[in-house]
C-alpha cells in the first residue's frame, strides 16, 4: 500500500474521542480564569478600548463597548454551558470564537498561554464533544435518540501535533539562545526575585543556591531537556506515559515559580489528548469479589476497559495492542491506564517490570 493511501486511510479513521469530552469539561473553568480580569473591569464599566490597546489590523472589526460587554458575558455563560455539556456544539463554538476574537482585538491581549488555550478551544469546537459526560447526552437518552460514539480522529492527530510543537518550540528557542542555555536568564531571575521570595517564605539557602551561576547552568539545561522529553515523549506510545508523568510536576512547578497565567491549567487539561482513542478495547477479567471489578468502571473516564467479572481467581488484562497481563502485572497495568491512579501506578509498574526483566529466570 502506498504511503499516500495509508495516510488517506489514517485521515478517514474514526474512533471514540471521549478524551476530548473530558477536555471540554476542564477548559470551561480555564476560560473563566483567562477572562477573569476582563470580567472584573467590565463589571466596573471598563472595556478594552477604554485603555491603551494596540490593534493587529486596521480592518479587524471592533464592536462598541455595550455590545462587547454583552458578548463577553455571553462567553461566561457559554464557558459554563461548555463544561456541563449544554447545547455543547453551540457553546464550544461560541467560546472558541469569542476567545479568539478577543485575543486578536489587541496585541496587548496576546500571550503564548492564550494562543495555546485557543488551539485547544478550536479543537473541541470542531469535534462533537457533547456525546459523553453532558446534559446533551442525558437529553438524547431521554428522547431515545442516541448519537454514535465514533467520530473522525484527524482533529486529535492535529491537536497532538500542535501541542507537541509548543513544547518543542519552547525548548528550541532556549537552546539557540546562549543566555538561556548558559543559565544567565534563570540566574538573573532568581537574583531579581530573591528578596521577594524570602519574604514570602522561601528559605534563603535555597535562593542563594538558585542565584549561583553553576547551579543555574545545570538547571537551565535540565528544564530545556524536560521540555523536549515532554514534547517528543508525547509522540511515541512507549514514551507517552513517561512524558505525561514528567509534565504534571513540570507544570505544577512553573505554576508556583513563575507567572504563567492559565498555561499550567490549560497544559494539564490538555494531557488528556494523549489517551489512546478506543472504545473499551481492553478486556479486564477479574474475580467477582475483587475491588477492581467495582473501581475500574468508576475510574475509567476515557472508556478504555471492558470489565468482565468471572469466577476465576486471577486478574487477566487482554489488550489487542500488547501481550496479556496476569495477576499483579495485570492489576498494575490497569491502574497505570486509569487517570486517577496512573501518577503512582506508572512508576510502580515501571520498577516492577524492570525487576521482573532483570530476574534470572524471567
Amino acid at each position: 500500500m502506498s504511503r499516500f493511501r495509508r495516510l488517506n486511510q489514517q485521515i478517514d479513521t474514526v474512533g471514540d474521542l471521549r478524551q476530548l469530552s473530558v477536555l471540554r469539561i476542564l477548559l470551561g473553568p480555564v476560560v473563566l480564569l483567562h477572562l477573569r480580569d476582563t470580567f472584573t473591569a467590565a463589571r466596573d464599566g471598563i472595556v478594552y478600548s477604554d485603555r491603551f490597546y494596540l490593534p493587529y489590523f486596521d480592518w479587524y472589526p471592533e464592536v462598541g463597548p455595550t455590545l462587547y460587554e454583552v458578548l463577553l458575558w455571553a462567553c461566561a455563560i457559554s464557558a459554563i454551558a461548555m463544561s456541563v455539556g449544554l447545547a455543547t456544539r453551540l457553546a464550544t463554538s461560541y467560546t472558541a470564537l469569542f476567545v479568539g476574537y478577543n485575543i486578536f482585538l489587541s496585541k496587548t491581549h496576546f500571550a503564548h498561554n492564550r494562543t495555546f488555550l485557543l488551539i485547544l478551544l478550536v479543537t473541541i469546537a470542531i469535534v462533537p464533544v457533547g456525546r459523553h459526560y453532558s446534559f446533551d447526552k442525558l437529553v438524547r437518552r431521554w428522547l431515545r435518540s442516541p448519537e454514535p460514539d465514533a467520530t473522525p480522529l484527524w482533529p486529535l492527530w492535529l491537536v497532538r501535533f500542535e501541542v507537541a510543537a509548543v513544547y518543542c518550540a519552547s525548548g528550541a528557542s532556549k537552546v539557540i539562545d546562549q543566555d538561556w542555555w548558559s543559565g544567565r536568564v534563570l540566574q538573573l531571575r532568581a537574583i531579581d526575585n530573591r528578596e521577594l521570595a524570602i519574604d514570602q517564605g522561601a528559605p534563603s539557602w535555597l535562593m542563594d543556591a538558585l542565584a549561583d551561576g553553576t547551579v543555574q547552568s545545570w538547571l537551565s539545561k535540565a528544564s530545556v531537556l524536560t521540555e523536549f522529553v515532554i514534547g517528543l515523549g508525547f509522540l511515541h506510545r512507549r514514551t507517552r506515559l513517561l512524558a505525561i508523568w514528567v509534565a504534571i510536576p513540570f507544570h505544577l512547578t512553573i505554576q508556583i515559580g513563575a507567572r504563567v497565567q492559565v498555561f499550567s491549567w490549560a497544559a494539564l487539561a490538555a494531557l488528556v489528548i494523549w489517551v489512546t482513542p478506543g472504545d473499551h478495547t481492553r478486556e479486564l477479567i477479574v474475580p467477582r469479589n475483587h475491588r477492581l471489578a467495582r473501581w475500574v468502571p468508576r475510574l475509567d473516564w476515557f472508556g478504555r476497559f471492558r470489565v468482565d467479572p468471572d469466577d476465576g481467581q486471577t486478574v487477566l488484562l487482554m489488550d489487542n495492542r500488547g501481550p496479556d497481563r496476569r495477576g499483579s502485572d495485570g492489576i498494575w497495568t490497569t491502574l497505570s491506564r486509569l487517570p486517577a491512579t496512573f501518577i503512582v501506578a506508572g512508576p510502580v509498574l515501571a520498577i516492577r517490570r524492570r525487576r521482573w526483566s532483570s530476574a534470572p529466570d524471567s
Binding site: 480580569d37 485603555r51 491603551f52 490597546y53 494596540l54 496585541k107 496587548t108 496576546f110 500571550a111 503564548h112 494562543t115 495555546f116 510543537a165 509548543v166 518550540a169 519552547s170 528557542s173 539562545d177 543566555d179 538561556w180 544567565r184 536568564v185 534563570l186 540566574q187 538573573l188 531571575r189 531579581d192 513563575a258 504563567v260 498555561f263
Partner: protein, 131 residues
C-alpha cells in the same frame, strides 16, 4: 508560524516562553509647545496608570522586568506612548510625549533608548522642534 514568529516583536504563535530576564524603566515627559518638558506623573489632568494597564506598562517609572523580553516590551511601550498622545483630548498644550528608557539586556548594560510618540498638533510641531 513558529519560524515566522521570530521576526515579530511579540512572537505571536512562536511559543518562546520566558525569553529574557531583562529590566527597564522609563522617564516620560510631555513636550510642550514652548519646548518645556514636564514629567507625565506631574501636573496633568490625566494619569498614566489609568490609561495604560498591564503588560508591564502600568508603572514604567520604576525599574522592573521586561514582559516577554525587551523587543516585546518596547513594541508595547511605543504603542502606549502613541495611544496616550492620541487619547488625551483635554490636554491642549502637549505636542508629543518623549521617553528615555534605561534598560539592561539580560544583565548587560545599562543602555539608553529614546522613544517619541506621534505628534499631536501639526501646527505647533515646528515651534517645538525649533532650536
Amino acid at each position: 508560524m513558529i519560524v515566522i514568529a521570530y521576526d515579530s516583536d511579540h512572537k505571536t504563535f512562536g511559543f518562546q516562553m520566558f525569553p529574557e530576564s531583562s529590566r527597564w524603566e522609563a522617564d516620560i515627559v510631555r513636550v510642550q509647545a514652548d519646548g518645556a518638558r514636564v514629567a507625565v506623573n506631574q501636573e496633568w489632568e490625566y494619569r498614566w496608570s489609568d490609561m495604560v494597564r498591564g503588560r508591564g506598562l502600568t508603572n514604567p517609572f520604576g525599574r522592573h522586568h521586561a514582559d516577554s523580553g525587551l523587543r516585546n516590551q518596547f513594541g508595547y511601550f511605543q504603542g502606549a506612548l502613541d495611544w496616550v498622545a492620541e487619547n488625551t483630548p483635554d490636554d491642549q498644550s502637549t505636542v508629543r510625549l518623549e521617553a528615555v528608557v534605561t534598560y539592561t539586556d539580560n544583565g548587560r548594560g545599562p543602555f539608553e533608548r529614546v522613544f517619541t510618540s506621534v505628534t499631536r498638533f501639526t501646527s505647533v510641531t515646528s515651534e517645538a522642534d525649533s532650536p
